[in-house]
Subunit: 672 residues, 2 copies
């Protein structure tokens, strides 16, 4: 007898001999090839489509004959007639292997497809969602062998798809008998398998899917969500809205105070933030135009205070030392428990918090940026009201948070504003003339370019946003307008009439309207940025101390705001440690990406949970060196750390303006 | 060095040597002795109390010196001062073993105590409830090692009591931080361990318990409940109320019809029965005078239609062949899911159904009567509107149900009524004079005894209840008033003026008021009883066929009604197979007992689930021989089966009254 035919699967390269007549799907399963199937080989779902290759494959050492696979059978022909089979494709459950053959499994037939990410330094996301669909044909009731409809459904899932010890959501039981009869004893189940494999939805007969999920980044200011196709990983809709809790306080601590001062205040904030999330999900479903019944999984990231408020836990203890979390571990629950008006079987997954001030958003950043998988030492800073800082590599990861305050978001800045059309976001100052040029959000032209005035006529020039204030202060430092200690020089000292006195200090005039409205950078603004950046740097430096290093190999700026910060300017200010500029990258909304990864990959949930358990948590409030680092870091870039790499590429004039300020009489040590 | 001291525990007899200085509790754990402890040896709970024996124990071969145990320490002295320690008792966690000693573990210090049942033929109930209390001292938050309050609580349970991988009910999280601080970082947790060990309630500091449970027998007519102390097994309160569903139909099928005919009818019945159960639980809590927060476990038994309605499942399919259950397996859920206003952490356990007509009540009867553990072949009949019948022994158990109708409950009987004061419940008829005497519920005197008239003046003599109708018909058969075929003879044929014509048949006058109101047994009444008992017997006979036997070793009559049936009369009627009369016993409310067992013993839940899976289910509706057995069983006792054991002890006159009835012309074969 001849040898059994050889089957080679691509792209996996898995190969083996199977008895002639083995369906491709069975061969794939035997060889551990990732080939999808919802209907268990009944020719219904077409998820197991493969592309056989014919002819000579010298690479694999086989020649594939035209009759290597069985001819189309009735099921395949019928499928093609009704639903159309792509040229060159076969149904893996129907086509039988007769002779040596090379079978390509296209990406869409793989369960564990990869979603390619744009940035080179990060891993692709492998799809491995908690949800899958399963089509089965259920035995009808038989009075000679009485059994419940549920038992026969579970029996079919076991016998036909090898799915064992399934639970079923109780909410499905009242409709179970009708669904089975409506589908004429065929049914498609959505199975959620995170900790306990559970049937969470049922459709009569064959339901093709796909199923959807929403990843939510629940910030103190904005709530952002992405609606994702769980089969392809594709983002179908993205949306954001203002966190309606803002009316109880702009920043987190004022919300905690509200909860402490007002009976029922925490519950009220819980209610409104859940309503906000619910509204956002509704918008995403509408925007994507999907059936809400197919939206069955949600993932959430947020800071500790938002976490407690969203889960209905009083944030009282987070408002005072020792900042004890009620609950920090990852939470799995029914989405309905969060008062969300989603399908009754929808699940919610809340990523773990790291510590009282380091949230699930930081955990999500860690999941996305994977410092624990990095061979070089990486510092990840999620820049926001509260900076969350990670430092680590494969040998270990540490985390802390640092109270930067809202200056980086344009608050506490005299001309500061949120990033919105009309806000100055980029600034350059000529080191010779001390003349500025800038760009505003909503316009691609520099302020000195022709047509700028017309282009911004609509929005106006309304203020300076977070990234703009960082750039302008850094540019002022590089142009010698402000000294290392943070003092703005006078018009005479600097040599430009743009330095205008304001009380006992000076301001730098960035822009003046034809009607005389000015946008200036005051010395108070510089002070606010100094405080914020010093806090951020001191946190990072503290982790570096703990790790026993003076430098890091690379820096990742995360956070929606981090995406807009210029690495050079951040380093001139001394926000981040000295480091080659090309080693400073932006991760964009890494927290949102982490939430999306947790939605698309069940193993990633275990990974982030293990990662968070393993992270060394540093509480800056109890570290005596934090204060010391903070004081040194108020200088620009720093009064203690030399920043040689920065100085090699950027001029940092050695100016000093010690007159006309409250501290004027004190001689300060300079390194600038 | 001398040998380690020997410790002998009674009553278990477990013995071993332990290093001198070992606390008794530790020794007990090492030797696998069942000694309770809630506080993990902190001298708080006193659950580990033991009674050391001193002097010579020749049986054990040891002499116990007065200083065999360490002297009282401060903890023990303090406990005694504040709470009082019984004479001769020691705290097992404090007293250390210094020399050879005999230690008695009193019943109240055992977790797995036995609850002795009154009937000799059944097992005692071993206590092994799903709920236990655990006292721990939790570490305070530490900013140097940030962790959540929950993590520290779970860590304490693991470190101090070896309780691992606990879940916690989400409803406890909002109050967690307050409970810990209120108890000054000491807390008592109630842990429910059925499938997943879960914290279901928390009390600040030390909470002594006990915890309570309620076992509910949810019948179509009445809902009965017992409130039980889960530590002692003691029943603290029992109560019952009318099933408020009765207004939708007396019998189950009329309720199913109501659900089929009325939009929302099933939901309405679900609501009212849950309200009924809720009211019953409220009454039990009030009667027992306990704190409702300590009531944390509920068990339920009921027939399939009540089961579906109670769980919110439409009973539609149960109203028609093939009688498919939606769900039959045991159900575990939060009691709140059943809209019961109990403690938020309270759990509900619903015993499994056996088949479409054989309910969780029958499963509970099986758990209580344990045919699967019986060496002799036992027939268990739960007599009610629908008789549920079990036949089996250690080799296997079969089950079926038989539609007896409500005649046994006094319905469809001309003078029938529910069992209530004034109802005739016992009857004797003199075989010579054909004169009856009877007893009514609420009076211990026979109707012929002096003072009877006065004694029943209050209640009157209002009708015949179920057990009364069985007795009177059986007595009429033994007295030759009714023949084997079920015809009542005329006054002339029988020889008593109590046989009075009524249409073309006769009635037997059981009682006549001074004012002329009569209580009679009509030939229609006899017919109704014949139909009911024939259905019951045919079901039993069918199982015997399947098992391949003509006789059974013993019969157990279960059901509240079964408790009142006289075995002799039941056998004269041919309700149950021929069998030595002393082998017919009553199990009382075995379904309720089964529910109580499932409440008190977690292993019993697995046992009943395995038992139900293993039971061979027989659907009488599809068994051709059922009809044949039914026809033969309409005769009293039976037209086919000879009943030799019965005939040996009871006269069954060979009379025949074939005139004056619709069937009068047909000659019937008699065996009487």
């Amino acid at each position: 007898m001849a040898q059994d035919p050889l089957v080679i699967f691509t792209p996996s390269g898995k190969r083996g001999r199977v008895p002639a007549g083995t369906p491709v799907l069975d061969a794939a399963r035997q060889l551990g090839v990732d080939l999808d199937s919802v209907c268990g080989g009944r020719g219904k779902c077409s998820k197991c489509q493969v592309a056989p290759g014919y002819g000579q494959f010298s690479k694999h050492g086989v020649t594939v004959a035209p009759d290597a696979l069985s001819a189309w059978n009735e099921v395949e022909a019928r499928y093609d007639r009704i639903r159309g089979l792509k040229e060159g494709r076969r149904l893996g459950c129907q086509a039988q292997i007769l002779k040596d053959v090379v079978i390509d499994v296209p990406a869409e037939s793989q369960v564990h497809k990869q979603v390619v990410r744009k940035r080179a330094e990060v891993r692709d996301i492998v799809l491995s969602p908690t949800l899958s669909l399963a089509y089965v044909e259920v035995a009808e009731p038989d009075m000679h062998h009485p059994s419940s409809d549920l038992d026969r459904l579970l029996g079919a899932l076991k016998a036909q798809l090898d799915l064992e010890t399934l639970e079923i959501d109780r909410h499905l039981l009242p409709g179970l008998q009708k669904v089975l009869r409506k589908g004429n004893w065929a049914v498609t189940a959505a199975i959620h398998d995170d900790d306990t494999p559970t049937i969470v939805a049922l459709w009569p007969d064959f339901f093709e899917g796909p199923l959807y999920g929403v990843a939510v980044d629940l910030g103190s200011t904005t709530i952002a969500g992405h609606l994702v196709n769980l089969v392809t990983g594709e983002v179908l809709a993205s949306s954001g809205l203002m966190n309606p809790q803002i009316r109880f306080g702009e920043d987190l601590m004022s919300r905690v105070s509200y909860a402490m001062m007002n009976e029922g205040g925490a519950d009220e904030m819980t209610r409104v933030v859940r309503e906000g999330v619910d509204r956002l999900i509704g918008e995403l479903v509408a925007e994507a135009g999907i059936d809400g019944d197919s939206l069955l999984d949600l993932s959430f990231v947020m800071n500790p205070v938002m976490h407690h408020l969203f889960l209905g836990l009083d944030p009282y203890e987070l408002g005072q030392a020792p900042f004890a979390l009620a609950v920090g571990s990852a939470q799995r629950m029914m989405a309905r428990e969060l008062a969300l008006s989603v399908a009754p079987g929808a699940r919610a997954y809340v990523l773990p918090l790291i510590a009282g001030h380091v949230g699930a958003d930081a955990a999500a950043v860690a999941l996305s940026e994977a410092p624990h998988r990095s061979d070089d030492l990486v510092l990840v800073v999620d820049v926001g009201t509260n900076a969350e800082i990670l430092l680590g590599d494969t040998q270990g990861v540490m985390a802390c948070s640092s109270p930067t305050g809202p200056a980086f978001e344009g608050a506490q800045i005299s001309s500061g504003q949120r990033a919105a059309p009309g806000a100055i976001e980029r600034v350059e100052i000529d080191p010779e003339t001390k003349e500025p040029r800038f760009k505003v959000i909503g316009c691609d032209l520099w302020s000195t370019e022709e047509g700028f005035t017309e282009a911004v006529a609509q929005t106006g020039i309304t203020g300076i946003c977070g990234s703009g204030i960082i750039e302008v202060v850094a540019e002022m430092r590089m142009a010698g307008i402000v000294d290392a200690g943070g003092l703005i020089g006078s018009a005479e000292a600097v040599g430009t009439p743009r330095c205008i006195p304001e009380g006992r200090t000076h301001s730098y005039l960035l822009w003046e309207d034809p009607d005389g409205r000015k946008i200036t950078v005051t010395n108070g603004d510089v002070r606010a940025i100094q405080m914020a950046k010093a806090a951020l740097y001191a946190g990072a430096r503290l982790l570096m101390d703990k790790r026993g290093v003076d430098t890091v190999d690379r820096v990742v700026l995360a956070g929606a705001f981090g995406a807009h910060i210029s690495p050079k300017h951040a380093m001139v200010l001394g926000m981040i440690p000295d480091c080659p500029l090309e080693k400073v990258t932006s991760a964009g909304n890494a927290a949102g990406t982490g939430a999306r990864i947790a939605l698309l990959n069940r193993e990633a949930r275990r990974e982030v949970e293990g990662l968070v358990r393993g992270i060394e948590k540093i509480e800056t409030a109890v570290e005596p060196r934090f204060q010391e680092h903070f004081v040194a870091a108020t200088a620009m870039p720093n009064a203690a750390d030399p920043f040689p790499l920065l100085r090699a590429v950027v001029p940092l004039p050695d100016v000093e303006f010690n007159a006309g300020t409250p501290e004027g009489g004190r001689r300060r040590r300079r390194r600038g």
